[in-house]
Symmetry: C2
Subunit: 481 residues, 2 copies
């Protein structure tokens, strides 16, 4: 029998295909890759009987998994990592002058934040990211260059400038003209980038939140999304302020409002749902909406556990997101898997809620499905994109490897691993990192450019008189930071 020649064979790994309803474990497993796609995954002897390749990778020390999917992140915010947390009302009391300074930066400094975010994510095993920001020059091109897969969402915000700080509990003042300009910019961005980089890049449409655009603009956006067959990426029920706004403006909470508008369908990827009631969760699931949960961010900022466990148990699809380094500090799906599993156990006071395999599914195949890429990525199946990671089980924090009568690898990936245990990252059949060395980006330059941009932000914040109101200045004075 002649063997089919392929571009890469990964052999002798602890393979987890994530096919079916479990994790698809294959001891002494192999993956055959041709071009940007997976040709086969199976036991090594079977794969070697059918395929040959010039390039073979000995993965006997590694867990081989689909690359991780970060379903929600605002990448430029990486420049603000760690400057604000541990205080209630953090946006206003601890973050505001930093956010203003970041927004006022030139595009090249925003790009420094995106580059830091993307490289941090890549080194922690993320192969697909859903980046949500105002489009700026160089944003999409960087993803194209570095080789990550990305679903990019240009933000559409219809608030009048300064509306939130002026509102004092009354409905925000809207500015439809501004919102429409952002919509047009987003559509132009989609025209340019949707399907670019051999399909690695795609675009969603991003009305920021139900309380941040007028009813008219929301309806217009929904119509466009339907016409263009685009998914909608939206913060929904993300805080009590949003709910209060919706009540004040329409006399109805966010989710019934969106239902009435016709937003609730499989096209909607709803992020946070911090304030969603159990009935509202059921409504979302019933309509086929998918959920993004950012456990680390919401836990740190609000001490809240969003209803991901209920969403899943009702049959909904949930993906994990990091949100931002300014709100979560860490950009790692390993962090999110662990925190999602543990926070939900604590919420329910039961250890069997979100077991390890469910967390791993949320970070891979379910995340892929949640953002509409379930047919392309998220599992190691023939015909899917060759996005996969090798995790070093030889790290002491993951040792020993036990296979019988219980296989301990998935629990250790969720509860003991960190992003630093990822040895290699492959996207669309290409190594982006190997032996922890990034191959498509200059890590030292990214670090120093991010540092320079952060120092520029520091200067601007110090020059902003309102920085004197920062809640954490007390902690600085008291020697606690």
């Amino acid at each position: 029998m002649t063997k089919r020649s392929v571009d890469m064979l990964i052999l002798h790994g602890h393979v987890f295909t994530m096919e079916g309803s479990g994790v698809g474990a294959i001891d002494d497993g192999a993956v055959a890759i041709a071009g940007d796609s997976i040709v086969a995954a199976g036991p090594t002897p079977e794969i070697l009987a059918s395929y040959e390749s010039q390039e073979t990778i000995d993965a006997s020390r590694f867990a081989v998994l689909p690359g991780l999917v970060d379903c929600h992140v605002h990448s430029p915010e990486s420049l603000l990592r760690g400057v604000a947390q541990d205080v209630p009302d953090y946006m206003e009391r601890a973050m505001a002058p930093f956010s203003r300074a970041l927004r006022a930066l030139d595009a090249d400094l925003w790009l420094a934040g995106t580059r830091l975010n993307v490289l941090e994510a890549l080194k922690a095993g993320t192969t697909t990211t859903m980046d949500y920001t105002t489009p700026y020059p160089g944003w999409a091109a960087f993803y194209e260059r570095v080789g990550l897969r990305a679903r990019l969402t240009p933000t559409i915000n219809g608030l009048a400038p300064g509306a939130m700080s002026r509102a004092h509990g009354k409905p925000y003042e809207m500015d439809d003209a501004k919102g429409r300009r952002m919509l047009e910019a987003g559509l132009a961005f989609a025209n340019r980038w949707d399907g670019a980089a051999d399909g690695r890049l795609s675009v969603m449409i991003g009305p920021q939140a139900p309380d941040m655009l007028s009813r008219e603009l929301l309806l217009e956006i929904k119509q466009i999304a339907d016409q263009r067959n685009m998914m909608i990426h939206m913060h929904v029920a993300q805080g009590d302020r949003e709910i209060a706004q919706m009540q004040a403006r329409y006399g109805v909470r966010s989710i019934p409002f969106l239902e009435e508008l016709g937003y609730l369908d499989e096209r909607l990827f709803a992020v946070h749902l911090t304030e969603a009631t159990d009935d509202e969760v059921r409504t979302l699931v019933k309509h086929g909406v998918s959920m993004g949960v950012c456990s680390g961010c919401i836990g740190l900022l609000d001490g809240i556990v969003p209803p991901a466990a209920l969403f899943r148990s009702e049959g909904g699809v949930v993906g994990l997101g990091t949100d931002s380094a300014s709100s979560n500090n860490a950009i790692s799906l390993f962090n999110e898997m662990k925190l999602t599993a543990l926070f939900n156990k604590i919420q329910a006071k039961r250890p069997d809620v979100i077991p390890a395999w469910e967390a791993l599914r949320m970070a891979t195949i379910e995340g892929a499905r949640a953002i509409g890429l379930g047919d392309q990525i998220g599992s190691l199946e023939p015909g899917k994109q060759a996005d996969l990671i090798l995790v070093d089980l030889g790290q002491l924090n993951l040792a020993p490897t036990v296979r019988a009568p219980i296989r301990n690898i998935v629990p250790n990936l969720v509860y003991a691993a960190t992003g630093h245990d990822v040895d290699s990252v492959i996207v669309a059949g290409q190594f982006l990192m190997r032996n922890r060395e990034t191959l498509t980006a200059d890590e030292a330059a990214i670090r120093s450019d991010a540092q320079a941009a952060a120092e520029e932000i520091s200067r601007r914040v110090l020059a902003d008189p309102q920085h004197k109101d920062l809640a954490l200045l007390d902690a600085m004075r008291d020697g606690k930071l």
Copy 2:
């Protein structure tokens, strides 16, 4: 002015001395070390004006902190990492045959577990560990050899063999003769090792839990601890089963029982307190008892957040513990800092509970105080032992470094760092790890010995007919592990 010659100068670091009530930040800070002790810590120009050394370390890329203190761990259990979790009643339903197999192993295989645990901890920045187990040949000698600081606690358990599984809700059968033998073995161990390795090793006395020894033996142990001026390391109020036992036997809960016995004083280090009521917490604090909290373990096994925040707010001293790789999966104080801060925010539904600086204090100076070593370690002060770690702020997950108007380093150490970001570890003035290379232990041998020991456990578990009752066998069959 002549300069004093010292053995090592660490220069230009982001130093956190943990002195006083905060974190003791010194930008461009330096530490002077002579022999096993810290001579001075301060701004680099001041230190360079007073001290000189052949060995200087450029720490400009690093945070320089006291080494981390793991207040509670059972080291041999590392061989069982990841084999049992995500099920209620995990000890009986998921762990029992593994525990039996571990207990039946020879001492050299227990040592394989301890070595794995110690090296994992060291590589994650732990410089002092409170290891709690039945003493076995080679245990203390390994700590002496590898150079870690350790408070070792020989377990004293006064239950008749098999008492727990036979009890069915009735009081456990006690075996005072067995308990007394374990007490004698523990005291012999203390005679040999307390103060050994130039004082790096010390010994506590370890009655396992209030329900696991007779009242008489507990009283005898307390008397000995007072006479010998030893601290007592004990699991207290660690589960509803313990409380039920105490009620059944004495008609009183664990903490009032210990109060009546005279156990509640500064000599007692009480671990877990999972079931302690608010009033019981106040009683413990009032008597000067210190607390060990194992957030990762208790969160994973029980979905419970122990009352560490209340214990601290009442004025008590709390240290962090990992407990074991079999119950927590990770042996990293970075993990415990983050989980303790986040779990307590969730418990209280408030983001200002356990801010970053409190978590860092619990992992350093407060942990040191909790275990009675506050005068020797836990902060970088003249005269204290030179136990410190260098954390690489150049890692992308910790970048950028911001110093004004808010210093972002401590929040990032707590919320974004992992043990892998630790570059170097110094204990008693000696490098144990440098540039992530361990200098006093053979990592490859430790990994392979642990793997061999784990495979021996697998064989024994497979040969134990009761392994067929393992709750996770269903998950194995269903392809979820």
